[in-house]
Amino acid sequence: MAQENCEKYAYLDQLSTQQLEQLLLADTEDPSGRDTSEVVFHILEVLQTREDVPAMEPVDVAQAWEEFQQYYNTPEGEGQSLYLPREDSERPEKDACAASKFRSRLPALWKTARIVAATMAILLSLMVGAQASGLNIFGTLAQWTNDIFHFGIDKESGLAENYKLFLDLLEERDIPRSYAPSQYPSDFIANEPLVRDDDSSSLVEISFSNPNGSTFSIGITRYASPDIIPDRTFEKDSSKVEIYTSSSKSFYILYNEGSLMATWADGVLSESIWGDISSDDIKSMIDSIGGS
């Protein structure tokens, strides 16, 4: 219906605004009473349309051509486009799209994080429960942690008589003298060496003490066979285990509540230096192993 009216009153579009206004005035003064509402509405639409679109000023074609020749059609403009490069007007749309995708993923990530956290909590609680029931879960995990250390296995310069005796006892039990330090801290006195023999191993040990009351010990053990070497447990605190290598022997240095322990093992032999001794002194003694 609307389309038919547009076609029916299309001729009114060709009239000027003044002419259309005169028609409206004539209609209001018409005494006949005819129904001219369709005409009036169409005229009003045309007038409204003309008001929305600003009237264009007539173009001076000659002047426009002259300006083009002067400002644009120049040698410097050769090959240049008259129009500015098109901005990525799509970019804001792309950014918005990416942001939208990220926002849509957030709920999924949040859900996954919750599941992971819940799973970890359940596993830890089960481990605690198992530990409480007697299973040494944490002990097993602590094979190489801050609390305990498991290990598969171990020079005579004006030395005291006790230390010479210590070296002799080593030889008697088929332990090379060269495995013992050839030096020890000068402020320590060597006590009488001890031997502990049983059916599984032989231990030759010597302790040292100084006037300050500090003591440390050197012990070298020879096991009867590799099959009977027991699983030894070394107490240590949270300090890192230090590996100190000298003369192709790698000693593990452990800290245990103020005491120090250096231990080395090779086959059926195991050597340990431990007690109230500084790290530097222990390393000096290790360096002297195999020396003269």
Binding site: E205, S214, G258, M261
Partner: protein, 140 residues
């Protein structure tokens, strides 16, 4: 939203508290008196003989060091007997750094056993001990 947030905070707090308890327990495993130790059980040469080899080292010269007890169980976990350590049976030594020897116990031949062995060291007022479970051994 509140429920989810509360569930997440609770899970995190639970996990954190468990980690702290593990960390606390781990730091207490170092010993002020014990340096290192080993215990093993083997079948002896005689009928029913179980031989416990032990090597207990104190950090420094200890007032008392060695094995305070050997609690024997059969392979099914049924309690059998307890051997208390003393200087007379050689399980404990005094005024020294190391207590190392082998203790022989007679059990029922053909039966299998394991033991819970407690090692210790006392230096002045400081005392510490550890329990070691041996492997199951069949008495000859």
């Amino acid at each position: 939203m509140r429920k989810r947030l509360f569930a997440f905070i609770f899970s995190f707090a639970l996990a954190a508290s468990l980690c702290f308890s593990i960390s606390f327990a781990s730091e207490n495993r170092a010993s002020k008196t014990l340096s290192f130790y080993s215990v093993s059980c083997r079948a002896g040469s005689k009928s029913g003989e179980l031989r416990f080899s032990y090597d207990v080292r104190a950090n420094t010269t200890a007032d008392s060091v060695g094995v305070s007890s050997i609690v024997l169980y059969n392979s099914a976990g049924v309690y059998m007997t307890t051997v208390l350590g003393s200087t007379s049976n050689g399980l404990i030594d005094s005024n020294c750094v190391t207590c190392k020897d082998t203790y022989s116990h007679t059990a029922v031949s053909g039966n299998s056993y394991y033991a819970a062995v407690t090692v210790f060291a006392q230096i002045g007022d400081e005392y510490d001990s550890r329990k070691i479970i041996t492997d199951v051994v069949t008495a000859p």
